[in-house]
Amino acid sequence: MPSSMNPLVVGRVIGDVLEPFASSVSMRVVYNNNKDVMNSAELKPSQIINPPRVEVGGNDLRTLYTLVMVDPDAPSPSDPNMREYLHWLVTNIPATTGATFGEEVVSYESPKPTSGIHRIIFVLFRQPCRQPIPAPGWRQNFITRDFAEFYNLGLPVAAVYFNCQRQGGSGGRRIM
């Protein structure tokens, strides 16, 4: 096992959803004011009912960012025919602020996996300028790659993900 490999690569977030990229902006995702999202950590549906606080780094208030939240393992990781399911889309977020200062194009839908353990990914893109991004017609089969290309967003500047299974689930080996 190679030591200190990028968790996004190991967890196949880079690969299944994103192109390889280097983080250039800080992003902090916090649920319930105390649960920082750590890569490949586990959160229960009951902990993610409300949208998290998303803090975006950078230094120039004029730089705008787009936040995408997707589930690539919908409806089930063994048969992800709805990859990716769009849970949240916020655009025009000014640097150094948070998601609440952007425009919510697609409202936050709390993930409720029914089968298997899903990865839930937050991706941040830098916008070339302030742009109106219309909501897609539906949430399923949203392809982040294509979306980024279509709106000229380039490579991601930050990403983080967590794992989620149904509330009563006991699946998955014990991590530690």
């Binding site: 030591s3 968790p7 190991v10 196949r12 890569n39 063994s78």
Partner: protein, 226 residues
């Protein structure tokens, strides 16, 4: 698991125990018929290398032969192999596709060449084995078992990935925090030194001003004699 390259036109093909159980389950090897099939596919006297090049060439024609991006399961391979059988395409073409599979070796090896070596030999005989599977219900159950095993393997692989990703994340955070901690400790030590220096250099003498004693006022308050 030793993966022997069993590409050969030798009818007395060694039935190695190292060959994947799936292949041995699929193939009901009849050496003579396989030899005939191989001869029909490769009319001229071809060497092992020629046949191999053919197959690899067929594989190269198929897009995205990368383990990381191609998520084809053995299940799909079985379907493909079955489809190939039905269309009765030459064995090389059918075998060429799945050569890029992450063949279900326990270590999840990324080599596409070696495991495929196991797949080549039984491939023509898959024709025979698969045809029989449709007729006999016993093999259907076996197929279901295969599917279950493949799914379980994938699930186990995902579980391992989760665990490894979490560990990597922790390692990264530990490293980050250690650095920040060291930096902050240094900063604190620096600031202490600075402050001490300042204090030593600029000792301001403090004068203690005593409160002026209250003197008694002398006033002429004696009563007048008039």
């Amino acid at each position: 698991m030793a993966s022997s390259k069993v590409v050969s036109t030798n009818p007395d093909l060694p039935r190695d125990s190292s060959i994947s159980p799936i292949c041995s389950l699929l193939s009901d090897l009849n050496p003579t018929s396989m030899d005939d099939l191989l001869k029909s596919i490769t009319p001229a006297a071809k060497t092992v290398d020629d046949v191999w090049k053919e197959i690899v060439g067929g594989a190269a024609a198929h897009p995205a032969a990368n383990d990381d991006t191609l998520q084809m399961t053995l299940e799909d391979f079985l379907t493909k192999a079955g489809a190939v059988r039905e269309e009765d395409v030459r064995g090389g073409g059918g075998g060429g596709g799945p050569s890029s599979l992450p063949f279900p070796l326990p270590e999840g090896s990324s080599s596409s060449v070696e495991p495929f070596g196991n797949g080549v030999a039984p491939s023509p005989s898959v024709h025979k084995g698969k045809r029989r599977a449709v007729e006999e219900p016993v093999d259907k159950a076996t197929l279901q078992k295969q599917r279950r095993m493949i799914k379980n393997r994938e699930s186990a692989a995902r579980s391992r990935e989760r665990k490894q990703a979490y560990t990597s994340e922790l390692e990264f955070l530990v490293h980050q925090l250690e650095q920040e901690n060291a930096r902050l400790l240094n900063e604190e030590a620096d600031m202490r030194r600075q402050r001490k220096k300042q204090l030593v250099e600029c000792i301001i003498p403090i004068e203690v001003m005593s409160k002026p004693k209250k003197k008694l006022r002398r006033v002429n308050s004696a009563p007048s004699s008039l």
